[in-house]
């Protein structure tokens, strides 16, 4: 039994290191191709762009999101903003009506049907050349749209471009940890972009050529992760997705463990379900990197994190259990009178420790490269340590729960997630 356990441990360690090295090799290979957009970036042609904001009970944050779009450095007559009230039960509609006289803004109202239905309504109404979404709790950098559109201009094969999502004003430790995670995903997303392996076009401000939807159909419910599904559908049909590291979108992130837990269950659940739906892609070389690398590595990371964390947690529980037995057996007084001495001999030299150190170093390098790509002031931050600790402790729980839900097909909806928050994020 222990032998099998050790083999599983080695397999996960090997695969996890493989994934990280893959990213690193890609970075070293492509680093010169990372485009640095000038401050005075201009497009040869300014196409029409529609941006949809699906709104469900977001009265506190809509204005900020809409205003960030209105302040985009982009010709006003080329930008259409669709605000879709997806059956909000709060004051969202009244807040939206403040924009009713703005010629760039279209207000739509419908019964609650889920985020994808709201976005699809805007898709039906628009005839713009490009289309994107923005969550009502996210804000765009004023240069982001131009920077993204430059990617389409440079390569007419590019069908969608994902932005860099940055945590808006992280306050507590949890949000700072998420900030680090988002920084890391800037790096991984850019590398996946180079390899043609992006599997998510994030809800906030991924921009698509409108013909993607004309040719492949609108958004689907996709287990409440429509942004993953559309990317997989595009990959299946060979549509190129890229990533623009300096197209910043600032998003509010969960500020409590429970809110983060619910959000991640939805994400991981969606990933698993979409992976099942698109299992025909797996390991088929004609589908490229997404089939050979992205989806398998996503699965490895879920199983690996669960396995490694359960192992570590199991060892901690075993240690505490033994200490409790020891105290019960010899009493508190004798327990604290024992002579505890440090000896290097007892520092673990198991191979798995070396692999863990290598993995942590690779993760830290990923975060630093992500911060560099996002042009953050310092590439290293001590909050990386928060990130590693917090995620090591809580991530296995949402991953296990998501797997459990996936087995039982218990979906966690976006609207329910908002309803459960005591108050929408501000």
């Amino acid at each position: 039994m222990e032998g099998i356990y050790a083999i599983i441990f080695y397999v996960f360690s090997f695969l996890s290191i493989y994934v990280q090295i893959f990213f690193l090799v890609t970075f070293l290979e492509k680093r010169k191709k990372i485009v640095k957009n000038p401050d005075n970036l201009e497009l040869n042609y300014y196409p029409s762009v529609a941006v949809a904001i699906p709104i469900y009970n977001a009265e506190d944050t809509i204005i900020g999101s809409v205003e960030s779009l209105l302040e985009l450095n982009y010709p006003k007559d080329k930008l259409k903003i669709y605000l879709i009230d997806d059956g909000s039960t709060d004051n969202s509609w009244n807040v939206m009506e403040k924009f009713k006289d703005n010629p760039s803004i279209v207000l739509l109202k419908k019964e609650n049907g889920g985020k994808h239905t709201a976005v699809n309504l805007a898709l039906e109404k628009t005839d713009c050349e490009f289309f994107g979404c923005l969550d009502p709790d996210s804000f765009v950098h004023r240069e982001s749209l131009k920077r993204i559109l430059k990617y389409f201009e440079r390569d007419n094969q590019t069908m969608a471009v994902a932005p860099s999502i940055i945590v808006c004003n992280p306050k507590n430790i949890l949000q700072k940890a998420q900030n680090i995670e988002y920084d890391m995903s800037i790096y991984t997303k850019k590398m996946l972009g180079f390899m043609g392996g992006i599997h998510v076009t994030p809800g906030p401000f991924s921009i698509f050529r409108k013909r993607v939807f004309d040719e492949l159909g609108p958004y689907r419910k996709a287990h409440f992760t429509e942004d993953q599904e559309i990317a997989l559908r595009m990959q299946e049909h060979g549509y190129k997705i890229d990533h623009c590291p300096d197209a910043y979108v600032y998003t509010n992130t969960p500020d409590s463990v429970m809110a983060l837990y619910r959000q991640r269950i939805r994400w991981i659940y969606g990933f698993i379900k979409n992976l099942i739906d698109y299992r025909r892609l797996l390991f088929k070389k004609k589908y490229g990197t997404v089939a050979l690398f992205t989806l398998p590595s996503g699965l490895i990371s879920i199983l690996g994190v669960i396995f490694l964390s359960v192992t570590v947690l199991g060892n901690i529980i075993k240690f505490i259990y033994h200490k409790i037995i020891q105290i019960q057996t010899i009493g508190f007084h004798n327990f604290f009178n024992l002579d505890y001495k440090f000896d290097w001999f007892f520092v673990s030299t198991k191979a798995v420790l070396f692999f863990s150190i290598i993995l942590y170093i690779l993760v830290i390098v990923s975060v630093m490269l992500g911060r560099k790509l996002a042009k953050k002031k310092s590439s290293f931050s001590l909050t990386i340590i928060y990130f590693i600790i917090i995620y090591s402790v809580i991530a296995p729980f949402w991953m296990l729960r998501a797997i459990y839900n996936a087995i039982r097909s218990k979906e966690a909806s976006w609207t329910r997630e908002i309803d459960r928050r005591a108050k929408p994020q501000s």
């Binding site: 090295i21 090799v25 069908m159 004609k286 057996t329 004798n334 290598i358």
Partner: protein, 248 residues
């Protein structure tokens, strides 16, 4: 359908090569440090062996010496952690590791030799000593773990309590001879205290109650001046931390 970019097979292979190198490097480093540890244990055991021989030689010479002249600095303080280290290595490298098994056998033999020598010295010099032979097994014996905790704690409290621990299932004829002499059954843990067998778990209170003479070898509260200890026959005890041995 659009066309995907061609797969970069070369990169997959290069990454596989790099990862394998790192992986083999990790295994090699682990093996290297584990061997270093084994070497360290071997050298401690060799040192103890030399110390024991020295002590035996002194004992043989005792006919011509008085007890207080027997300077038995056998089993130095390093020995106290030896059992811990062997137990730790067992955990890390496995019960079946030939190096670990061999170290454990050597260690057991040293214990037996020390036990016999100490008994002889105690008898000859009239020392107040209590000898505990502790038999445990590694598998499915929660009480062995608890017994280990008790003995570790007792050793801390009574530094001159001589505890010798033996893996009942270790394939060593000397251990089998001892279990046969003392009629130790496989109802473990088992303690042989001053020649008498106690099977099953014995709590601290049980042991302290059965052996009130433990009080006489209790750890002094005040540190004892060096001048007073110098003349004494103080042979540091083989004091394995049995709980760790069992912990596996």
């Amino acid at each position: 359908m659009h066309q995907h970019e061609p797969n970069d097979w070369k990169k997959y292979v290069i990454v596989l090569f790099i990862t394998s190198t790192i992986f083999i490097g990790g295994l090699w480093a682990s093996n290297y440090f584990n061997n270093k540890k084994i070497d360290q244990l071997k050298s401690i055991e060799d040192k103890i062996s030399v110390d024991l021989m020295s002590s035996e030689t002194q004992f043989s010479l005792m006919q011509e010496l008085s007890c207080k002249d027997v300077s038995t600095t056998v089993l130095s303080s390093e020995l106290n952690s030896l059992a811990d280290k062997i137990a730790y290595s067992e955990n890390n490298m496995g019960n079946d590791d030939t190096n670990v098994v061999s170290l454990k056998k050597y260690y057991s033999l040293l214990e037996i030799k020390d036990y016999l020598l100490m008994k002889a010295i105690t008898a000859r010099c009239g020392q107040k000593s209590i000898f505990v032979l502790y038999f445990y097994k590694n598998d499915k014996c929660d009480n062995c773990t608890k017994q280990g905790y008790v003995l570790t704690s007792l050793r801390e409290k009574y530094p001159n309590l001589r505890v010798y621990s033996f893996d009942y299932n270790l394939d060593l004829s000397s251990i089998k001879a001892m279990t046969s002499i003392y009629k130790v059954s496989d109802n473990l843990p088992a303690l042989v205290i001053n020649g008498k067998v106690y099977s099953g778990f014995q709590s601290m209170e049980d042991i302290e109650k059965t052996f009130p003479q433990l009080e006489s070898i209790k750890k002094p509260v005040e540190p004892v001046k060096k001048t007073t200890t110098k003349a004494k026959v103080t042979i540091p005890v083989v004091t394995p931390v049995i709980d760790s041995i069992k912990a596996n």
